[in-house]
């Protein structure tokens, strides 16, 4: 025996029968699983309880007295304005979802798997809008594409072209929302497309399919979980959106569910709390139905496991001359949807007035930025938002990663409920999330220590962002072959060690993408802060919303430019982080 597989020098003789397994402190994986499960449920589901209570109680919860009642629901369901709002929101969300999925999936396939020219540039432009708060884009759209906007007026005066959509209608609002929502679908699908084994397509090729046919008949169906998850998210985001109808819906008096709740809470005197809570409960019921539907449709996730233990590289499908036509279409679409509105933001930020009748160069100014620097609450809101986005984003990413691994890669008994728990907060309107935390803090933390700190707002923002991060993280997780984990277990790793050294390590790129998205989302989030903000804890998103509702776009645009700079810096760092990622 020249080379031994037997005992090495210094190890005990094996005849004793003692297992030579790894030595370590052994904590049962199940205990950790239960702990994570309990914490997740308390933080994610717990805050909903006060809303349900408030919807069934005749008086506000912080006041004594009151009794059980169904009156709030009766008032809500018999209010024609509520049903009009539901109809508007549903139509708007459906329009936005359909157009975003078409655009997002098409772009994901075209820009990752075909030889369309300028792929990197297009992909960069496409995801630019999600870096910015929706408000800023709205400001940009209004400045450029509104009937009296800079570019639409210019087109009508100088060319035979005109902008065919009125921004102040439902389709107009859906078009603006698509600019923000399509990149979400795109990001989800791209992660999955990159993870698909090229051999699957090669198999279709060998069965007689052309390259394009193989792409469409193999890769696109494999995107189903990513498309469904992202479509659901887009629908939910569109259903709850507050800023867009508040600003664009005002002139034609188009009410959404969010503005209905907002008006009945903020503008009604006294606030119509029971009614708003009943509206929130109604939404939750609808959303649970949507979730059940999603699970039915996605089916068995392992059907979509596409990466096995074998390493392989992505390949590109040649489209021939058609690629130039596609590039032209993409360039026009991205130009209208992204470049022009963003240019509008920058131009608004650096000018005192923006109209086709005055040369922008003659009205250049930095006064908008000076105003932000000089205003203590405005400048403080930037610092606070950075803190929440940075620290909160990191902690939330870690939480999403650990919860997802338990939910999908363990034998934990309640893993199914964890999967649900992560996704459904996104279905709650941000307003409701804010309200939920407001009441939870009011009940659990009467001293107001948490509510009065950034942790309170940060927690609400984090819970709201869970589904967004999970949507990026999960497809990558599903793409990691189970054998890789089994190999670690049989090598001597506990469940946790295998999760850390294989699953989480291999999903590091997805975690980085998750963090970037969370950072941006938490930096820009506003809605939940409506109820939680104090004079000492202003956050940028809400400050901007309040500003946009009362003034012209100059200062809002300046805020947007600041966010753009911060975000690009974060993305650059992310690129460096991604550059040193796994050699997979």
């Amino acid at each position: 025996m020249t080379v031994t597989a037997g005992p090495r020098p210094g190890t005990a003789a094996p005849e004793s029968g003692r297992p030579r397994g790894p030595r370590r402190l052994s904590v049962p994986a199940t205990a950790g699983h239960y702990l994570i499960w309990a914490v997740t449920l308390v933080v994610v589901v717990g805050p909903v309880v006060p809303i349900a209570l408030a919807s069934l109680w005749s008086a506000p919860l912080y006041r004594s007295g009151g009794h059980l009642t169904l009156g709030n629901f009766r008032d809500l369901l018999t209010d024609p304005a509520w049903w009009a709002a539901v109809g508007n929101s549903a139509a708007f969300a459906a329009l936005t979802t359909v157009s975003s999925v078409l655009f997002g999936v098409g772009a994901a396939v075209l820009l990752t798997r075909t030889d369309v020219p300028f792929r990197r540039l297009f992909a960069g432009l496409l995801i630019l809008p999600i870096m910015l708060p929706g408000l800023v884009l709205i400001v940009g759209w209004m400045a450029m594409w509104a009937p009296s906007g800079y570019v639409s007026s210019w087109l009508e005066v100088n060319t035979v072209l005109w902008f065919p959509v009125d921004l102040y209608t439902l389709p107009g609002m859906a078009l603006v929302a698509t600019t923000v929502a399509a990149p979400t679908v795109f990001l989800f699908c791209r992660t999955t497309v990159l993870a698909i084994d090229p051999a699957l397509e090669d198999a279709a090729r060998s069965a007689g399919a052309g390259p394009l046919r193989a792409l469409v008949s193999v890769t696109v169906p494999l995107l189903r979980p990513a498309v469904l998850t992202s479509a659901l998210l887009v629908f939910a985001i569109s259903f709850e959106v507050l800023g867009l109808p508040l600003i664009l819906g005002f002139s034609n008096n188009i009410t959404f569910v969010s503005t209905y709740l907002y008006d009945n809470w903020i503008n009604a005197a006294p606030p119509n709390q029971g009614l708003v809570s009943a509206g929130a409960v109604f939404l939750l019921v609808c959303v649970s139905g949507l979730l059940v539907l999603r699970n039915r449709l996605v089916g068995d996730a392992s059907r979509y496991t596409t990466v096995t233990g074998k390493a392989a590289a992505t390949r590109v499908v040649g489209l021939g001359p058609v690629r130039w036509a596609l590039a032209a279409v993409l360039a026009t679409a991205l130009g209208v949807l992204v470049v022009v509105p963003l240019a509008g933001v920058v131009m608004s930020a650096f000018t005192s007035i923006l109209t086709p009748y005055v040369t922008p160069w003659s009205v250049l100014t930095t006064a908008n930025f000076q105003a932000i620097a000089d205003h203590p609450i405005w400048s403080e809101s930037i610092v606070n938002s950075l803190l929440i986005a940075g620290v909160g984003g990191l902690l939330t990413t870690a939480a999403i990663a650990v919860v997802s691994v338990v939910a999908h890669r363990s034998a934990f008994r309640f893993r199914g409920s964890l999967q649900q728990a992560v996704v459904w907060p996104r279905m709650m309107p941000g307003l409701v999330t804010g309200m939920a935390f407001f009441w939870s803090f009011a009940i659990l933390d009467p001293s107001g220590a948490v509510r009065g700190s950034l942790w309170g707002i940060g927690l609400a923002f984090a819970v709201r962002s869970l589904a967004l991060g999970y949507g990026v993280f999960y497809p990558a997780l599903a793409a990691i072959g189970e054998d890789l984990v089994r190999a670690a277990r049989t090598s001597g790793a506990t469940w946790w060690q295998a999760a850390m050294s294989v699953v989480l390590r291999l999903s590091a790129p997805a975690m980085a993408a998750c963090f970037v998205l969370l950072f941006v989302s938490m930096l820009n989030d506003a809605d939940p802060a409506v109820f939680l903000v104090t004079d000492r804890t202003p956050v940028m998103g809400l400050t901007m919303l309040q500003l946009a509702a009362t003034s012209t776009g100059g200062a809002v645009a300046a805020f947007g430019v600041i966010q753009m700079v911060i975000t690009l810096a974060v993305l650059g760092a992310g690129r460096i982080f991604l550059g040193v990622r796994a050699h997979a």
Binding site: G6, R20, K310, A311, A488, R489, R505, A508
Partner: protein
């Protein structure tokens, strides 16, 4: 190295029983193969040994260490100290060759110098020491497979478990890998359980083979025993090529029996135990059939028993031999020989009694596997 014992191991997935009270014993240092068609339960058995699946009942012991005992003991996979090579290799793409192999040693808190030495030693063993710094995507399939093997041997394991490790390799490479792995296993003497559906692999590598079908053991034995003395028609048919002929038997003289086949005038003489009577099935390997070329001297067949004339229906040239499908009465008889014969011509073949195995009539659960 410990031996491995499975006692009455059973496993069902819902209503589907994949293991029926399986018993098996693997001797210290032995290369033991689980052979069977897809879905026969061989992988489930292997994963039960590794701890990746929990059986419903039964016991599994490594030497005198019980790693599974009904619901009472179920040692986690990481505590079983097995080395597993997966069909997909499962080489971690984010770790270099060195780090892949070092992983089990790191978990065992091996000090850095000792770890590096051991990694080098195992990589030399699999002839990959020159590729220590490479990443998996820079390796060929065969190299990835050897990384997986090195990783499985690093700790070192009490038991080496191989799940169809060659199925992703091409034929030439597979043949070389077989010989190489067999030599390596004998050199280090690690007790090994090997899962395959490839009979050539099983025959050429194993000390002993267990043939499985539908969660049951059909036969355990050395490769020679399995091939030459199959326990039933399923084993005979699954391992190697065999002609199965149904007929009716009646007792003959001198410990023989006579078997009538449909469409054949004379009965075949077969060796028989006591009281062979009624419906039987005969098996005979194509290479054991003696071919007498047409027009050969009658003296050649003089004294031979069981000579019959068959008509060649199709022929295939396979390089080192010819394979003929012939008509024997109303049956098909596959013959293997070096003699070239034209399509459609007649052959005189001899089925030596000692080449014929006799089995009872077909029972539904003994049906040979679907040829697809």
């Amino acid at each position: 190295m410990p031996d491995l014992t499975l006692t009455k191991v059973a496993k069902s997935f819902g209503a589907n029983v994949v293991l029926h009270d399986l018993d098996l014993h693997v001797r210290d240092g032995e290369l033991f193969t689980l052979l069977g068609p897809s879905g026969c339960g061989k992988s489930t058995t292997l994963w039960s040994i590794a701890g990746l699946h929990s059986p419903d009942s039964g016991t599994i012991t490594f030497g005198d260490r019980t790693v599974f005992d009904g619901g009472r003991i179920d040692v986690a996979p990481e505590r079983r100290n097995c080395g597993v090579v997966f069909q997909s290799y499962a080489v971690w793409p984010h770790l270099s060759v060195h780090d892949n192999v070092a992983y089990p040693l790191k978990l065992r808190k091996e000090r850095r110098p000792a770890r590096a030495a051991r990694v080098r030693e195992v990589l030399e063993l699999v002839e990959l020491d020159h590729l220590e710094g490479r990443y998996p995507h820079e390796l060929s399939g065969g190299q990835q497979q050897r990384v997986a093997l090195a990783r499985a041997l690093a700790h070192p394991p009490d038991l080496l478990l191989l799940d169809e490790p060659f199925s992703n390799l091409d034929a030439k490479l597979r043949e070389r890998a077989r010989e190489w792995l067999r030599a390596l296993q004998q050199r280090i003497g690690v007790t090994t359980v090997f899962v395959t559906h490839d009979q050539d692999e099983a025959l050429s590598m194993s000390d002993r083979i267990m043939v499985m079908d539908q969660g049951r053991v059909r036969q355990v034995g050395t490769p020679e025993e399995i091939y030459q003395e199959p326990a039933d028609v399923f084993v005979a048919d699954f391992v190697g090529t065999v002609n199965v002929l149904a007929g009716r038997a009646a007792p003959g003289a001198d410990g023989t029996a006579r078997v009538w086949l449909d469409g054949l005038g004379r009965p075949l003489i077969v060796p028989a135990g006591a009281g062979l009577d009624g419906d039987v099935r005969l098996t005979v390997r194509p290479e054991r059939i003696v071919v007498h070329p047409p027009g050969g001297a009658p003296a050649d067949t003089a004294g031979a028993v069981n000579t019959v004339t068959v008509k060649v229906r199709s022929r295939a040239f396979l390089g080192d031999h010819y394979r003929y499908v012939t008509d024997l009465g109303e049956r098909e008889l596959v013959v293997r020989t070096l003699t070239p014969v034209d399509h459609g011509s007649e052959l005189i073949v001899e089925l030596p009694p000692d080449a014929i195995r006799v089995f009872g009539p077909a029972r539904p659960d003994m049906a040979p596997p679907d040829p697809t």
